[in-house]
């Protein structure tokens, strides 16, 4: 056996050392991820956002919910869409421009239409939407779980 291959051979000792190092690092990463990455319940608002009665919204109109970080859009056929105000480019807050009937990001001037689809870059993806549930005629928006999408589809709307 040459000197070189002896040096590179995996001995039992090397194998066990490596194994221990791997297990320990995995454990550290696992624990760290649990500490750093998880949302802490006491700091998070767990409740769904109540946007109010279904009957109080008109068709084909957009309603801002600044504190809930979304715009509620009622489609012409009565379906609801909760559009996140977080720009998909770099996370700034978009504003609804009623003159152009679309959203605009103040940071890097991405433009979106009223369904949240990209009209002009740098954004590459349509604005995220939030799941809506309707209970006893009230609209509840789950504004902690954004859904990513590329284009608007009627299937994204929620009906009574």
């Amino acid at each position: 056996m040459t000197q070189e291959s002896k040096k590179n051979r995996v001995t039992r000792r090397k194998f066990i050392k490596g194994l221990i190092a791997a297990v320990v690092s995995f454990e550290i990463i696992y624990v760290l991820y649990g500490l750093v990455g998880k949302k802490r319940p006491n700091l998070m608002n767990k409740n769904l956002f109540n946007a109010g009665k279904v009957s109080s919204f008109e068709n084909d109109k957009i309603y801002p919910f600044g504190s809930g970080l979304f715009y509620l859009f009622k489609y012409s056929d009565g379906g609801f869409l909760a559009i996140s105000i977080k720009c998909t480019h770099l996370g700034c807050m978009v504003q609804f421009d009623s003159k152009n009937q679309g959203f605009m990001c103040p940071c890097h001037s991405s433009k979106f239409n009223k369904y949240g689809e990209v009209l002009s870059p740098p954004a590459t993806r349509a604005l995220d939407i939030f799941p809506i549930t309707i209970e006893k005629g009230e609209i509840l928006v789950d504004n902690e779980h954004p859904i990513q999408r590329n284009i608007f589809k009627p299937s994204q709307l929620t009906y009574i």
Binding site: Y33, V36, G37, K38, K39, R40, L43, M44, G66, S67, L69, I85, K86, H89, L90, G91, C92, M93, C105, P106, C107, H108, S109, P121, P122, T124, E144, P146
Partner: protein
Amino acid sequence: MINKERKPTAIERFLLHIHPNKIDAEAIKFTKTFGLGGISALLFVLLAISGILLRFTYVPTPESAYDSIIFLQEKILFGRLLRNIHHFSATIMVVTSFLHLIRTYYSQSLYFERSKNWIYGLLLMFLVLFSNFTGYLLPWDQLAYWAVTIMTNMLEYIPIMGDLLANMFRGGDMVNGVTLLNFYNLHTGVLPLFFVFFMSMHFWLVRKAKGVIVSESTEKEMVSVFPNLVVKEIMLALIVLAAIFLLSIFIDAPLLDKASITISPNPSKAPWYFMGVQELLLHIHPVFAVFVIPVAMLSLFFYLPYFKYSKVNIGVWFNSKIGKSLTIISVLFSFIFTLIVILISEYIIDFSSWVPKLPLLISTGLFPVLIFLIPTAGFLYYWYKVKNTGFVETVMSLVTIIITSYIVMMAVGVWFRGEGMNLIF
């Protein structure tokens, strides 16, 4: 006057341990290193002291962070000065450690026994930037909040693990109280600890490599470190301290309105040292700007000492006369070329509407990259093949082009981008 009879005290001897007893007279010339590494180390000490003091008043919660800084500045004697010192030391540390990095590179001090220290140096540079960035959020004003929002959202563009990584740092999908707590702990606990370890390794490896690099041709004249080098070090340290105190007395660290999560300022910018990446993002598809290009650049920098070079003149600035001229030409080339590409990309190129059928990754990603890459490759090919410049010099030219290009993009991003990130002159 230095009393040569006096014996150093125990603590002085301990501090002197960092140096050998005798040192080559050539190595302690100021222009050999410009004292940049030393200044960075001094700034670390200054930052540690001022940082520990700041911790006495700072409250890391979204409700109180901003108010605690107002309180520090207005109610506490020298509170504002203390914050200014911390701010300017941190900002200047980014500059000095970067200059130290390029000084090491251009004076050819990263090969053979120093290659490992080059890696430690790069890790320290990363620590400087990461510390600076985590500290950026702590004032919890509009500047801090949106800069960190933008930076963490850049992470999301990393393929596969981007979302995971960004959400881990933020502790959610928005910058919030969890983010502040994470950043606070990283900034005041984890990163300083890493700093101490990596700095110790860095210094020790310099000693192991027999101190500051000296080109082989020079004749050696050994002088004693105490007082020859120590006096110079103390003098430089005092000048740096005086400069930082003066700056901190006359200029205040920025503090805008308290962070508001519903109002994004126009424009919103990343911290200045990351503006090059944000500028790149305006021109190139995010996967390239945030992932492919940075990873390629980082790999190049880490691999720099390990290329198979033929003629390395260790300790000689720019390796040779040709190296020096080529470096200057590369700076000019990269400066002008980058500006031209920025202007073309801003006003003329619109690949996504010219070739709408191609995927965005190719039309807005690969094409702009090629626009930069092909002329650069041509430039390097011309020098390497036609002019027969050495391999060391050609790699140096590539590194120079990359560094200059980043600085140009950073400068454009910081000074020439106004509302809606449009170019302003």
